[in-house]
Symmetry: C2
Subunit: 259 residues, 2 copies
Amino acid sequence: MDHTAEFRRWKAQCLSKADLSRKGSVDEDVVEFVQLLNEREQYFTTSSCAGRIILLDGGINGFEVQKQNRCWLLVTHKPCVKDDVMAALKKATGDAILKFEPLVLHVQCRQLLDAQILHSVAIDSGFRNSGITVGKRGKTMLAVRSTHGLEVPLSNKGKLMVTEEYIDFLLKIANQKMEENKKRIERFYNCLQRALEKETITNLHPKEKIKDKNNSSYTRKKKRNPEEAHGKCLTEENDKECENDDDPGISVSIFPEDY
Amino acid sequence: MDHTAEFRRWKAQCLSKADLSRKGSVDEDVVEFVQLLNEREQYFTTSSCAGRIILLDGGINGFEVQKQNRCWLLVTHKPCVKDDVMAALKKATGDAILKFEPLVLHVQCRQLLDAQILHSVAIDSGFRNSGITVGKRGKTMLAVRSTHGLEVPLSNKGKLMVTEEYIDFLLKIANQKMEENKKRIERFYNCLQRALEKETITNLHPKEKIKDKNNSSYTRKKKRNPEEAHGKCLTEENDKECENDDDPGISVSIFPEDY
């Protein structure tokens, strides 16, 4: 079986199966996004989480524990209020931790070039920790990840270590991060739509490929017009939240600008 | 120029340049690791941070700010004590945040297969957020990243929102994470050394390739003997800190086990 046929078979198999997550359905905030990808022949999503605030109880003294020993005290994909967290914290017996986790999306791609296009759009939309995995059988996967998290220990062996005022302050930050995450998803959706439309046009009119060579959809447009229409992609200049900044402690020999 | 010659040129150029980081040198805990990679013809490192505890002052109300507006109150690659953080916090005027950031390493790879091998070893060693980037000119980069962070808001507009006792508790956790990060680096170093030795033997005796087909160095060995010698790679079974667990909220259609 050739690679394209094999990819089609994987896709059909994957999309026909039941959603195996505990929730059993795609999060509201990424439904459209997941649809956009699954409608295209070159992609399908294998897992997604739109972003969430979670409170978990588990490892004593900050040690990570096996997932099965963790207790999920609270999970929400919507902004969260102090009273909900305070109520959930009453059930904590170990070291409770509050986390904000931004969008995580796994997309299987037909070929490396498809993954490169999606990867470039993800990076430009602010999902800077995204990366490609290529398996030994050629399965190509893009994991979309952001740098935009929060992980805050709240209790020690069941004893709350912070005040209610602090939890209120923390939730304001977590809710803002959730809002920012939503904006990034929207930006990602719009940028991807444009990139895919452009790709379709290029495929329909192959001659355009030559003209378009220096402006391909997977090029990071560093000098993009900041006044561009809504849903614009981020550039290096307006989003400095990059793990590779020249912060103290990061030893940089040289980082190719356009690798 | 063929691709291998071009890669050699990039490598020579990169390694001959001065270290552009503020620190100006490679972190002690990754010196050996960086050397191991740079000695191999198929790799060179472009940036590295062994892992650090940082205290930064910046965005009001938890908003991320441009890097140039952030003030670094404290940066350390060693375990940290409460008094150092309390002293640094006195200088905070905005919203101070304490972070633990694990190893970040960027490695340029000669070809995709070299990146796949390194990626697989990184994942097996616990660096589960690692990913490959392939640029339009074919530059192939592996970013090594862990899921193992901490990000804790401490003050609001210069006002400390937590107690000294909490900071003490928090630093114990941050220091433990730093210790765990060190162990992962060691494990990564040992696993990589073995994978590279194996690859060298395979290259010297190409016939072995056939025998070795089902046990290649970039295969995730899910059923590895847990009693194996020190520096063993992690398996799915003994490290559940995977972003793709079936936690509530992650919608999973199917996640190919062996993609």
